[in-house]
Symmetry: none
DNA sequence: ACCCCTATGTATAAATG
DNA sequence: TCATTTATACATAGGGG
């Protein structure tokens, strides 16, 4: 759509790919907005640039929330966790690639084997995912407990301080002020009285 | 984009809204595909029609995962689909119970059907599980933030109290005490001096 | 990278079948 | 409701600053 027709396949030139990305991404999001408004429907768009940056649009809050939650969570955990998983998946990909070169020549036996491999990769992936999720939850629970403990401690500190300063107010400063004032006045009167007597 | 310019606001006429929805939805998804291919990025689009039907596009599996999660999340919050989903699982249980009574008499066709039912129940269960886990994590994160905020607040309170009491000691009570004490002593000395002079 | 411009390809509103 | 047509608005490729 422009000076020339462009075939829909990966743009090889990096900079024009980037330019096109920017333009079309904005276009897509604009269209999504229009669709949601014109037709009164919920629309969400998520784009991950190749550098991993996220661009998204959502016509409702909850979707944004969900997707953002997902993103922040996955981004946080992926870096640590994925290495092991990629090894397994990497192996699977190798198997798949070598098998897929001649997909028509795979016998039923081969396919059964392939099915088993994929199945076990799936199980491993899933179980690793579950592990990480459960760990994450356990970790968060611990943190929560710790924070709650800290909070309790701080509150105790505060109530301690308050009690101290109340004691000071009731038996310390206030009393001293009045008694001192009295004694000052009294002393002056005494002095005056003494002078008068003399 | 057509015979006329159309303002971007809800189309009131139901049938033309429906027509526009159909056209623009396809357009949006086409654009999303093009973007993902041309720029070699991951794109996902989700559209919920007002009648609750889902249309989606995703360039990758992982984003499909996001969408499934999102999907199940929304299902959790929307009563209709929730109800429908439990029915499905209930139905599955019924099917299983009646089928398992005579497991040997099941034909391949029956088994394929059963496999599909079990498979979809599995997907639903898994997606619901994922949804709950993600929600749980998000909830814990929020709680963590809240607790941290409270902690910060309490710490501020404490440091505020400490500073106050320091100020009091330096410029308040202490000073008054000494000046009062001095004036008392001074007055008494004056009085004494007066007495001595007289 | 970003904006502006313009020629051109696309998407689509409305009409029609 | 859906397909086709057509006129028009919009999106955008390529180019220059």
């Amino acid at each position: 759509m422009g000076r020339r027709k462009v075939a829909i396949k990966r743009i090889e030139d990096k900079s024009s790919r980037q330019v096109t990305f920017s333009k079309r991404r904005n276009g897509l999001i604009k269209k999504a907005k229009e669709l949601s408004v014109l037709c009164d429907v919920d629309v969400a768009v998520v784009v991950f640039s190749s550098s991993g940056k996220l661009y998204d649009f959502s016509s409702t809050n909850s979707l944004t929330g969900v997707l953002q939650r997902y993103n922040s969570h996955v981004e946080t955990e992926e870096k640590q966790s994925n290495y092991a998983r990629y090894m397994t998946i990497g192996e699977l990909v190798q198997t798949l690639e070598s098998d897929i070169e001649e997909p028509d020549q795979l016998s039923v036996t081969d396919l059964v084997h392939l099915e088993q491999q994929i199945g076990s990769a799936l199980l491993e992936t899933r179980s690793r995912k579950n592990c990480l999720l459960m760990e994450s939850i356990a970790h968060l629970h611990e943190k929560e407990k710790m924070l709650e403990e800290e909070k309790r401690h701080l509150e105790e500190q505060i109530s301690g301080i308050k009690k101290d300063s109340e004691e000071v107010n009731e038996m310390g400063v206030g009393v001293d002020f009045t008694s001192l004032a009295t004694s000052v006045v009294g002393t002056q009167q005494q002095a005056a009285a003494t002078l008068n007597l003399l």
